[in-house]
Subunit: 272 residues, 2 copies
Amino acid sequence: MDNRAIGIIDSGLGGLTAYRELRRLLPQENLVYFGDTGRVPYGSRSRETIQKYAMQDIRFILRHHVKLVVAACGTISSTITPQAVEAIGLPFSGIVRPTAQAACQATRSGRVGLIATAATVRSGAFGRAVEELGGPGVRLTAAACPLFVPLVENGFVQPDNPVTELVARQYLQPMVEAQVDTLILGCTHYPLLSQTIQRIMGPQVTLIDSGREVARWAQGFLAGHGLLAQREQPGTGEFFVTDSAEGFIQVAGLFLQEGVEGRVTQIDVEAL
Amino acid sequence: MDNRAIGIIDSGLGGLTAYRELRRLLPQENLVYFGDTGRVPYGSRSRETIQKYAMQDIRFILRHHVKLVVAACGTISSTITPQAVEAIGLPFSGIVRPTAQAACQATRSGRVGLIATAATVRSGAFGRAVEELGGPGVRLTAAACPLFVPLVENGFVQPDNPVTELVARQYLQPMVEAQVDTLILGCTHYPLLSQTIQRIMGPQVTLIDSGREVARWAQGFLAGHGLLAQREQPGTGEFFVTDSAEGFIQVAGLFLQEGVEGRVTQIDVEAL
């Protein structure tokens, strides 16, 4: 039993898909969410800049009383170095391994697709994980979708939005051509576009939601190590952001089915 | 005569449209460009965050030997406070007044449109400038186009790009309905979409390019105050960015008709 919180870091809002799933699976856990809304998006920046920002984000979340750090962001997860993970000194998971694991289990044909940010695709991290976990029978086809995050952050998320549809058809063309039967949504923003993506890919393709998979991994990890919280009342949820709390409160409703008013604090991550 | 450089600050790449025009109009001037590519875009962030970032940007450019500071960014220009401008202690211009001035001179019907980032529209700065410079006969209709900057930064700039066309038709609808005869491109990224915008608005509408107008203003200001540089050889151009120099060098070609290799330095603006 361990009543310390689970720390979640993200480049902005996308990680709220993981937060929502953690809250659903582990209602008794305290959750501390950090979203770098003042510097989002990470996925179009260079590796060095992403690594620098990720270290600042981790340094912040470690100031809280956490037992586990989850990087609920495809870009951080695929760009962080093993040295940085070791330096955390606590259990850690990004989305890459849990998501690759789920994809390897789901595929029947061995043709797995990955859509993610430019930085995530460039890193090759998903390809290495799929190769290790799925063996030689699984092959990954990857495509960067740099406009998906701006589309989500600007509210182009209705399943019938013609702009999103047009962009998605263009980005998903290589996935359709490769005849994948499993598609990894390698960025935690993408589940908000899943209806559009599913329609274009067809009902026979399994979408793997990275936010959900990392939450399931956390549940299994904490249970397996006797680290689940035990308390009478439901766990708390706290949010820290680098841009204004007001803006975050408004958009968080897109991701969560709960209001977050009064629980959001703006902080200066650069000053730490 | 003053051989110090002109300092140009921008949230990222858009200000290069002003750089290009300054280089064309004032070939003998040294230009120092700072683009906050590690934190772009500014236009979707809160006023407080934009003001904080702008102050850091200005602090950096003042470390160079400059005689004039130009904010070649609609979002910085419309969000900066008079106190911050005073604190610079040097001649300064954003794009708002030069651009509003040009629009007021160009309009015949008095119906002027503004397209810009969400932060710029929210600030009301262009409305106040047009009212002051154009008098009661000029009325401004404004619309935010939050997806234009991501479209440009991700290379959706071909005049026949169907995604850009679809987004632009949606954003420009209020401008068409208001029957504006003059349209301010209130963000220095937007000139890269001017062919698409012109086609949708029709040939009778005058587009006002904010990068060009602030460059013209700078030329007039320096000439009027005896501050033009005089040197035998052409002026130099130096670039400072907060994300990787490589990424900037690649995309800068979209904006400039000159290579910038060997003249781009990555710096840490947060550490200043």
